[in-house]
């Protein structure tokens, strides 16, 4: 019998790589890749981004945790990604299991397979990756075999805040920031291996760490309406799992020696994380809630990191990233320093997330001296009323004034992001979107930019757990389609391009976003039927999903479209981001009365995060 070890895999790959698209995705060997001695480490982690290489390599969490874990002499961390379907097919033909890019070892040989959950639509890829790795899907199937035969299946990242649909497949989740907790849990596994503990014993110990959620320690009971009636918690486990927070974000580990991919990544540049958290409190936004409190990194540290990163990577671009970079207190100073030190080396600077209420055209002009390709803004809603509902503190006057200076500074392509199907939305709000696009063009005409183009992008609202809108239902598919059609007809203009998302995709996303464990059967059915890469329109199979929904007898509307009651026990009530349910209820009520909540830098909204879980950090200008 053939032993499918790393050498065999590497050799076998040469037969198929010349025939697949972008083979550079599958061989590693990139600049700054870390190759450790397998035999000299105690705990080996395969960090898996459940999407294609170019997407995964752009992820900041992967960059940080890969670098961080490998600084520990006892730990080894290697990468794996979802193979594109052409590669998957060839791998199956040749009998090659999924392997890590550093050592070409099958994932099954690792102690931990850690998935990062960035979006619900990658759930199918996670199960598919387990299949390709010849690892049984469910925790109970893995336990039935020899106790340590299979790796621990772990998951973390923003979607862990409600990953209940994945609960039967994952041994443990890490809630919150991984910089301290990930090494801590690996240390427990290391001890467990040494002491000869069973995996169950290791999990019992791990459950004591802040942020570690072991789903098998929790049992749900449902009433006749299908609502959660009771949760039974194992005595070893906490009733509520609180997220992990890094003690000192500013001086926390940051990787300057990041891997430089050969095949172009989506974000192929140095990413400087200037801050974590956001103070705006937009009511639809999960990131704005779960990453609280706002913590900034000191300008001195950022500058050092930037210089070192350019030196180590040779990247030609550096980007200041966060949820809202123009809100970073010292943004001007950091930009000036960076430009004086780095720009002369032929390195350009970019700001990916600009908010239009604090957007300074002068900043943008300085930064994007050469390329005036396009500017992106997110008004999110078309009328002031609806913007008040979602707590997006932006007025149309702000928008138009900013547009005017942008056009005067030479920009001519503007992208406007909106959401449709927001709570309380009417067709009047849609008219507002159309009106806004026209007004932007009118401003362009007045400033002499007759060549201006506007892209209007409308995504469909998906209620997300841990937000004030978590109780709201998603618009019915028929209504969403009608709204898209309504906009499409009214945005017929050569100067306007209208983009919108497939409603089927948003529907599946909404089902899983507010899903519970009972959805695991549907998920497994879908994966076995061949669903994968659901976030990619060319691979999304709504027909299969519909069939799966019918066969597993799941009511999708119960999850996606139902308006939940404030009193209900929710499938994610035992998972805490620190933001209290009372605060979310209050924000929800305020939304329905169109009342604004101020930025919490000005007045604390008492969401529950500060000061117990962490404190906000800002730097002086």
């Amino acid at each position: 019998m053939i032993v499918k070890n790393n050498e065999w895999i590497r050799k076998r790959l040469d037969r198929i790589l010349p025939k697949v698209m972008k083979p550079g995705r599958y061989v590693g060997g990139e600049w700054n890749m870390i190759r450790k001695d397998w035999d000299k480490t105690d705990v080996r982690v395969s960090f898996v981004f459940p999407d294609v290489y170019e997407v995964g390599m752009s992820n900041l969490a992967l960059r940080i945790l890969y670098g961080l874990l490998n600084t520990y002499p006892h730990f080894l961390c290697e990468r794996a990604f979802a193979p594109w379907p052409d590669m998957e097919e060839k791998m199956k033909e040749e009998g090659i299991p999924l392997y890590s890019l550093e050592s070409f070892r099958p994932l099954k040989e690792f102690d931990v397979v850690a998935f990062t959950l960035q979006y619900e639509l990658s759930y199918t890829n996670i199960l598919n990756i387990l299949q390709l790795s010849e690892i049984p899907l469910r925790t109970e199937e893995r336990a039935a075999k020899n106790n340590w035969e299979y790796p621990f299946i772990m998951a973390g990242g923003p979607v862990s805040y409600n990953a209940e649909p994945l609960a039967p497949f994952v041994d443990f989740f890490l809630l919150g920031e991984g910089e301290e907790q990930f090494p801590a849990v690996l240390e427990i596994i290391r001890e467990g291996k040494k002491e000869g503990l069973t995996k169950a014993e290791v999990l019992t110990r791990a459950a004591k760490i802040q942020g570690i959620y072991v789903p098998e320690f929790y049992d749900f009971e449902y009433d006749q309406l299908g609502l959660i009636s009771q949760v039974h918690v194992n005595s070893h486990a906490p009733k509520v799992i609180k997220k992990a927070v890094v003690k000192d974000f500013s001086s926390a580990y940051f990787p300057e020696k990041v891997i430089v991919p050969y095949t172009e990544a989506v974000h192929d540049r140095v990413m400087l994380e200037v801050m974590r958290g956001c103070t705006k409190g937009c009511r639809f936004c999960q990131a704005g809630m779960i990453y609280r409190p706002l913590r900034e990194r000191s300008p001195e540290i950022l500058l050092k990191q930037a210089e070192k990163a350019i030196q180590e990577t040779g990247y030609e671009e550096i980007s200041l990233v966060s949820l809202s970079t123009s809100d970073y207190t010292c943004v001007n100073r950091v930009l000036e320093d960076l430009m004086s030190k780095i720009q002369k080396k032929g390195v350009s600077i970019s700001l990916p997330s600009l908010r239009l209420d604090s957007f300074d055209v002068k900043i943008a002009e300085q930064v994007q001296k050469v390329r005036k390709s396009g500017l992106t803004f997110a008004p999110e809603a078309g009328t002031q009323r609806l913007r008040d509902v979602i707590n997006k503190g932006v007025t149309e006057t702000d928008l138009l004034r900013t547009m005017e200076s942008a056009f005067r500074a030479g920009w001519s392509n503007i992208k406007l992001y909106y959401m449709i199907g927001l709570p309380t939305e009417t067709f009047e709000d849609l008219d507002g979107i159309v009106g806004q696009a026209r007004k932007v063009l009118e401003v362009a005409r007045k400033t002499g930019r007759r060549d201006a183009r506007v892209v209007v992008s409308a995504s469909s609202f998906v209620p997300k757990p841990h937000t004030p809108f978590q109780w709201e239902g998603q618009d019915d598919r028929v209504l969403l389609k009608e709204k898209q059609e309504y906009l499409r007809k009214r945005l017929r203009d050569q100067r306007i391009k209208f983009l919108y998302h497939d409603v089927g995709t948003s529907f599946i996303e909404a089902i899983f976003a507010r899903g519970d464990r009972r959805l695991a059967d549907l998920l497994e059915w879908a994966v076995r039927a061949g669903c994968k890469f659901d976030g990619w329109s060319e691979h999304f199979r709504y027909d299969l999903w519909q069939q799966g929904i019918a066969e597993t007898g799941i009511d999708p509307h119960f999850y996606a479209n139902r308006r939940m009651a404030h009193e209900e026990l929710l499938p994610w009530d035992h998972l805490s981001s620190g933001v209290s349910k009372e605060y979310l209820i209050e924000e929800h009520k305020k939304a329905l009365t169109e009342a604004l909540s101020p930025d919490c830098r000005g007045k604390c909204g008492r969401c529950g995060v500060c000061p117990d879980l962490a404190k906000p950090v800002r730097y002086k200008i």
Partner: protein, 256 residues
């Protein structure tokens, strides 16, 4: 500069190479000339593309460097080559260099011949003579049509005129350089691997991959080749002028 493209580096796509060199040069602190305009790009240009997955032992790149006039050329170059080498990925090794005289033609415009070596596993036993005869028969044809699938589009063309020589080398005649192959033969379930050498026209008018020729031979001359198992190496790129065969760097030196 002449460089190798071996090991995992052979999976770096041709279009990605420019970024690989640009970033290595920046890490090495070597200043490159950039083009003017809205979207400046480094003045780095390559010879004929190497198909992804094919190894190269002498590939070529032209790089326009910024230098101050008072610098002595040779010591500067030696330092630059050393600094750049340290920043290049595993598998890319700088093996030769020369300063191009001003106004030299781009590599793509002058290189017109590529020499390949392939390791060809067969699915059924066959003598070297019989294999060579099959190749010669193929070479006497006037036409050998080959279909290439690119970006979902099928294009058919006659590849026969692009090949001028194919030599099948029995393994016992292979010298020590090919000990790797001996290792492969030992591990090959069917125990039959040949070395084949190809001279193929290349340049701006396009070219053909050895594996496409082997595919054509396997079909037209009925040779049982294990096509996915073929391992290809480009051993050299040349400028052929009549009888003369010059390596690009020799060519630059003769022009000087």
């Amino acid at each position: 500069m002449a460089y190798t493209k071996r090991k995992e580096a052979r999976y770096i796509a041709h279009l990605d190479l420019i970024r690989v060199f640009d970033r290595a040069l920046r890490r090495a602190g070597i200043e490159v000339v950039y083009s003017e305009g809205f979207n400046p790009h480094p003045k780095i240009s390559f010879g004929p593309p190497l198909p992804v997955g094919v190894e190269g032992t002498e590939e070529y790149v032209d790089i326009e460097l910024k230098i101050q006039e008072e610098i002595a050329e040779q010591p500067f170059l030696i330092r630059i080559i050393g600094d750049l080498q340290k920043q290049l990925p595993e598998g890319i090794e700088l093996v030769d260099y020369a300063i191009m005289p001003p106004g030299s033609k781009a590599l793509m415009a002058v290189i017109n011949l590529a020499r390949y070596r392939t390791e060809v596993p067969l699915l059924e036993p066959l003598s070297a003579e019989a294999f060579q005869k099959a190749c010669d028969r193929w070479l006497t044809r006037e036409e050998a049509m080959s279909i290439r699938l690119q970006k979902g589009k099928k294009t058919e063309r006659n590849i026969r005129p692009l090949a001028s020589e194919i030599a099948v080398i029995p393994i016992e005649n292979a010298n020590d350089n090919y000990s790797l192959i001996a290792h492969r033969i030992k591990n090959n379930e069917n125990g039959m691997v040949f070395l084949c050498k190809f001279d193929i026209k290349t340049g701006n008018d396009g070219s053909v991959r050895p594996v496409e020729i082997l595919e054509s031979i396997s079909i037209l001359e009925n040779v049982p080749i294990d096509l996915p198992g073929v391992l290809t190496t480009r051993e050299g790129l040349y400028i052929r002028k009549g009888q003369d065969l010059l390596k690009p760097i020799e060519y630059i030196r003769t022009v000087q």
